[in-house]
């Protein structure tokens, strides 16, 4: 396993960043936190654009920066590309010239510009001036340009934040496609948890310049549901982590069927239970159309299929609890599970229920808890609408 080892501090006038963490470079790793938490600064440090750190950064067992030995590899020699929030395309160059800027400076290049143009769906834009492009198109060009520099690590700094929903969906699909086909490790900064939930394998959470959580995406999202007393106490002056996100259940479940004949797709939950969601939320044909091998050859692939996993999430506020099986209900999802935890958070209660080894988080009022008199280890039914099963941008 290849690691990015970070152990440094960086002090500004009114903000300090202090990181000591080894990151697995595997798939897409999300960096999550509120504005001003140090996410973008972290990317700038890794890429070498912030030089004055106290400590060291190691990448693939190679020292990129170490102040004690005065060792510093300049950004242009790191083979780490950064895609900025505001694209930063060169305005005096056309789309093709922007792409060629990166390609022509890449030593021992393996990728062909035409293949990357196809991969990022830029065929119709290559002769245009970058000043004529929409925000979404600019970000696609920036992404293609970064890939053409053939980095060993790709850094994406909130690439979707300024885009409309349609452009977000297109670019997100392009990022997933690129990661799949080029097997390129990516660090992806965002303050949108649903965006990260959809594409990241691991996630690290930052607050006030420090990493407060790091792990697999589902595990960390579920930890974010918990109040501070069960989490890292490195945060000072914050009452609760839950302000970072809405409490939710993060899932990655195998697709049992794309269409069960009643306009629902079915996801397998263990051997016996399943979850229904509207069939148009299965992103068929949207994630990946072609596979580009490392040699640049293309072969056809049919995106998300049955037996492949779908990432989705259900907000804790969208699930309800029943003590008995509701037989006459319009709600299509009904699961049976066991309460493992009950936590009071403010005026609400967060109930953890395990169904087929999968934990679900349910948010109910204190009144409902008292009315149902639920206790740990009690068997209950969970109900939620098909529409409550969300995938990114739906």
């Amino acid at each position: 396993m290849k690691y990015l080892k970070l152990n440094f501090t960086l002090n500004f006038d009114n903000f300090n960043i202090k990181i000591n963490q080894d990151l697995k470079l595997n798939g897409i790793t999300g960096i999550y936190g509120h504005s001003g938490s140090g996410k973008s600064t972290l990317l700038r440090i890794i890429s070498g654009l912030e030089k004055n750190i106290q400590g060291e950064v190691n990448f693939y067992n190679k020292c990129l920066s170490n102040n004690s030995t005065n060792h510093f590899i300049r950004p242009e020699n790191r083979q780490i590309s950064l895609v900025f929030q505001d694209s930063r395309l060169f305005p005096h160059l056309s789309v093709y010239e922007n792409l060629n800027f990166a390609a022509s400076r890449c030593k021992n290049s393996q990728l062909k510009i035409d293949d990357v143009i196809h991969l990022t769906n830029l065929n119709e834009l290559i002769n245009k001036s970058v000043t004529q492009l929409s925000s979404g198109q600019k970000q696609r060009v920036a992404l293609a340009r970064a890939i053409l520099s053939e980095p060993k690590l790709l850094l994406l700094d909130e690439p979707l934040s300024a885009l409309d929903q349609k452009s977000k969906k297109t670019l997100l699909a392009a990022i997933i496609k690129i990661q799949n086909q080029l097997n390129l490790p990516i660090l992806y900064v965002s303050h949108a948890l649903d965006e990260l939930q959809q594409i990241c394998d691991d996630i690290l959470v930052m607050s006030q310049g420090e990493i407060i959580n790091y792990g697999s995406i589902h595990h960390v999202i579920h930890q974010l549901n918990q109040p501070i007393d069960t989490l890292s106490k490195t945060l000072s002056g914050e009452e609760n982590h839950t302000h970072l996100s809405l409490q939710q259940t993060s899932l990655s479940l195998a697709i049992k069927t794309n269409d069960n004949g009643r306009n629902f797709a079915e996801l397998s939950l263990g051997d016996e239970q399943c979850i229904l969601l509207p069939k148009d939320r299965i992103p068929c044909g949207k994630v990946s159309d072609d596979i580009l091998t490392n040699e640049g050859n293309k072969k056809t692939n049919t995106s998300l299929k049955q037996s492949q996993n779908l990432r989705c999430f259900i907000l804790a506020q969208d699930i309800s609890i029943c003590l008995t099986e509701p037989l006459n209900s319009s709600i299509v999802n009904l699961l049976y599970g066991n309460i493992t935890d009950i936590k009071q958070i403010g005026h609400t209660v967060l109930v953890s229920v395990v169904c087929e080894k999968q934990i679900f988080f349910v948010n109910i009022s204190t009144y409902s808890q008292q009315k149902l008199s639920i206790i740990v280890n009690q068997k209950v039914y969970l109900q939620f609408k098909a529409s409550a099963v969300r995938t990114y941008l739906y």
Partner: protein, 223 residues
């Protein structure tokens, strides 16, 4: 025009051309350094560079004349290296012109570099472009109009110099006698017809040059 005026024209163009080249070579890194500098000492350097804008040319000319004389170190060093006296030479008026026109080159370039900022350079660096590569691939094309402005102002201002050249160069035909000095000579000799020819030529040349700068710097849509 008289043949001595043609010689003065040639001397003027040679001086202005050489001065402009030297100004761009010196002024570009100086402007870049100032645009990136955050230390408080920056204002002192900026003030020194801007001095010729407010200082009477004769003041600068006087101190340069002293410095260039063989009694003082700069003049002595020059004489040791070249074997020739610096004061009242073509080299002296070029050095004087470079110092006198420096703000006209440094200031527009510094402003352009500051406006460009670091964002595109950061992007270029992360794509593998070295610093020199960034400068020639990104900075120069995007600040082209400022380079044209700086070079044109430097050239035009040098052509129009009088006081400082008279102080450190005198009036040696073919060496330090430039157009502005020749014009002064004609006026002193009451040769107004020749003076008119030189004056109107300088006026028209300056108008054409300035108009060309404004035309080049005009946004494309309005052209």
């Amino acid at each position: 025009m008289q043949s001595s005026d043609y010689l003065a024209l040639f001397t003027t163009l040679k001086m202005a051309g050489l001065t402009t080249v030297i100004l761009l070579i010196i002024g570009t890194p100086l402007a870049w350094f100032l645009s990136k500098m955050t230390h408080k000492f920056k204002v002192v350097i900026e003030a020194v560079i801007a001095l010729p804008l407010v200082l009477p040319p004769t003041v600068l000319g006087f101190y340069l004349l002293i410095a260039f004389s063989p009694q003082y170190l700069p003049g002595q060093l020059w004489q040791q290296v070249t074997g020739q006296q610096l004061a009242f030479s073509f080299s002296a008026i070029v050095i004087g012109s470079v110092l006198y026109s420096l703000p006209f080159v440094v200031q527009p370039l510094q402003k352009a570099f500051e406006q460009l900022g670091d964002s595109l350079l950061d992007a270029a660096a992360s794509l593998g472009a070295s610093r020199l590569d960034q400068f020639f691939s990104i900075v120069v094309p995007l600040t082209k109009s400022s380079f044209i402005t700086a070079a044109s102002l430097g050239f035009a201002h040098t052509v129009g110099e009088f006081g400082i050249i008279l102080m450190i160069g005198g009036n040696i035909p073919g060496e330090t006698r430039v157009l502005s000095i020749a014009l002064f000579d004609h006026v002193e000799a009451f040769n107004y017809a020749q003076a008119h020819i030189l004056a109107i030529s300088l006026l028209i040349a300056s108008m054409v040059l300035l108009s060309s700068i404004y035309l080049l710097n005009m946004p494309k849509k309005r052209r």
